[in-house]
């Protein structure tokens, strides 16, 4: 996905369909990292609470 953006962004018309789709791919990449980070943070927080014995 990252390679697609890097390779094709230079050939697109600014504001056109292709351009917008590439931005959509970027948004999807961001969403994936965001969700993964959030789930990891929640799991870590719960685990920390359990291991330290406080609720």
């Amino acid at each position: 996905m990252t390679a697609t953006i890097a390779a094709e962004l230079a050939e697109t018309v600014v504001g056109g369909h292709h351009y917008r789709m590439l931005f959509l791919i970027g948004a999807m990449l961001f969403l994936v990292t965001f969700v993964a980070n959030m789930v990891g943070d929640l799991v870590m927080h719960r685990l920390k609470g359990k291991l330290e014995g406080k609720k």
Binding site: I5, A6, V14, L29, F30, F34, N37
Partner: protein
């Protein structure tokens, strides 16, 4: 002469000690067979060689890459290549130079440092000295920093294009020269590039500054705080 004799004697005693130790090992039934036989603990030896081998492999790969680059690139390296521009012919290896790229990289990194240091250091100071470690806001800020560190760099590039060049630059153009169709701010520039890079390096700066601030002993931090802000966690 005397010195030499002493050394040889001590070496002899060392050897004797080692032999005695080995005899003891051979007799001890509590020890595993590998130590009794050879004086070597086989699992330890195995893992020592495994980890050492992995390190050597990485060093070998690095050496191979460096040697390959040097071997293939040595002939093209010259002062003209480093110090001249691409004005003559950009695609002819014998005429082109990379000085504009070197200059651009240096300027961008310096500008990026100017942008990222104040924001990053102030955020890190806030996180270590003022913010409550259990509050929700601190958790959100930390999550945002971690998230920023995990996002692929191409997304930062898109962000720079969409936000800095199109949005900020476009609006600056509309504000200052609404009649001019030629964009002044709304086009690729070293300013926008360095701002994008500053956003990208922000988590690195924040984490590094936080670590170094946390390494300061409380006894050293307290006197400094006496001169400064009226409230903080450490004093």
């Amino acid at each position: 002469m005397r010195k030499l004799k002493i050394r040889s004697e001590s070496f002899d005693t060392q050897l004797q000690k080692r032999r005695r130790w080995k005899r003891l090992l051979l007799r001890d039934d509590n020890l595993a067979w590998d130590i009794r036989r050879t004086g070597i603990h086989l699992p330890s030896a195995f893992f020592t060689s495994l980890t050492g081998g992995a390190t050597l492999l990485i060093l070998g790969i690095l050496a191979f890459i460096l040697a390959n680059i040097l071997w293939n690139g040595w002939s093209g390296l010259s002062w003209r290549f480093v110090a001249s521009g691409t004005a003559d012919d950009m695609f002819d290896v014998n005429k082109a130079g990379v000085f504009p790229m070197i200059f651009g990289t240096a300027a961008r990194v310096i500008l990026m440092t100017l942008f990222v240091i104040p924001v990053g250091v102030i955020t890190a100071i806030y996180l270590t000295e003022y913010a409550s470690p259990t509050s929700l806001i601190t958790r959100i800020i930390r999550g945002a920093v971690n998230n920023l560190a995990g996002v692929p760099s191409i997304v930062f590039g898109l962000f720079g294009l969409g936000f800095f060049i199109s949005f900020v630059g476009g609006n600056l153009d509309r504000l200052f020269s609404p009649d001019n169709p030629e964009p002044i701010w709304g086009k690729p520039a070293i300013l926008w590039a360095s701002l994008t890079l500053a956003v990208m390096t922000l988590p690195v700066v924040i984490v590094a500054t936080e670590e170094s601030l946390r390494a300061i002993l409380p006894g050293c931090a307290r006197p400094a705080w006496r001169w400064g802000p009226p409230s903080c966690k450490r004093c």
